[in-house]
């Protein structure tokens, strides 16, 4: 769009901090819960733990990097679909 008008500056921290805080605490509680239940070996929990490390990056590409970390890195089509749904994390 050639006539892009940037939004006016607003305080994004005011708008988003409480929501982000809430989600972070929920994530922490989830990890506590699965640890108490001895379920941290699940590959999805491992994938989540790996993704959390990416939040320490100092570039504004954290969401992209987290999504990439959950993604199937292969390039060729699979022979046959044996299920219809997706799990959310690639099983290495």
């Amino acid at each position: 769009m050639s006539d892009w008008t940037p939004p006016s500056t607003v305080n994004l921290v005011d708008l988003g901090f409480m929501d982000a805080r809430s989600k972070l605490i929920d994530l922490a509680a989830f990890l506590d819960r699965v640890q108490r239940a001895n379920q941290t070996d699940d590959f999805r929990v491992q994938a989540l733990t790996n993704a959390i490390a990416l939040l320490s990056l100092n570039e504004p590409t954290r969401a992209k990097e987290v999504l990439l970390s959950f993604s199937d890195p292969s390039a060729d089509p699979i022979e046959k679909a044996t299920m219809q749904g997706a799990i959310g994390a690639y099983r290495v």
Binding site: T5, P6, P7, T9, L67, A81, T82
Partner: protein, 266 residues
Amino acid sequence: MNYIEPHGHMVSRTTDDYERMALAGCQAICEPAFWAGFDRASADGFYDYFRQITEYEPKRAARFGIKHFSWLCINPKEAEDTKLAEEVIGLIPQFIDKPGVLGIGEIGLNKNSRNELRIFEQHVQVAQDYDQLVLIHTPHLEDKLKGTKLIVDALKNFPKIKPERVIIDHVEEHTIDHVLDQGFWAGITLYPESKCTPNRAIDMLEHRHAERIWMNSACDWGISDPLAVPKTMQVMRQRGWTAEMIQQVAYENPVAFMGQSGKFHL
């Protein structure tokens, strides 16, 4: 403020939803053919489904002053059964000239299998033969990145399919640049858990200056929100967007893409 819902599966929504969308300013809903939540037993089921989205849903929408348009295909979740898929593709020409049919969609990939890819390519061939717009579904979650790359690569084998007449939907932060940089349109889907929140969608719109992007709710039989687009427009206001820019994304962009069909009249 007026808006367009460019991707909603209204067959699975109630009439109350039409009313709420009309009250929120919805002027048009576009319904891609999709998976019904179960695998249909025969092509006859699709024949009836195509009648539903091309004949019945437009009447249901019209009760609330909303225009209804549709797209035709067999979705990738049912494409592993290639015999069924080919029979359904054979039905498309019977419906392609209906007044509200905008093109072929939502085709694409689900688990990135060879059969899904074969059926995807057959759909693209139909689009090329009938000079139709194309609406593409990209896979969910961990399969999205790979599927998006396979789709973009496959489209390169169809030189008559112009990228500006193709929208690749359900992009996220890790796929949007690949889609837009190849000249395609991109769709951002506002859907709980598995796709985008309003704030993430707006981040991407700002990153790409809202060019060749629409946003949709993809409301269907799952937990989803037919008012996701107007709710996101409200968040845009909170984030300092001008009314003109909101209107550009929520109304003008869908009009620009679907207007290429020659049938998208509001």
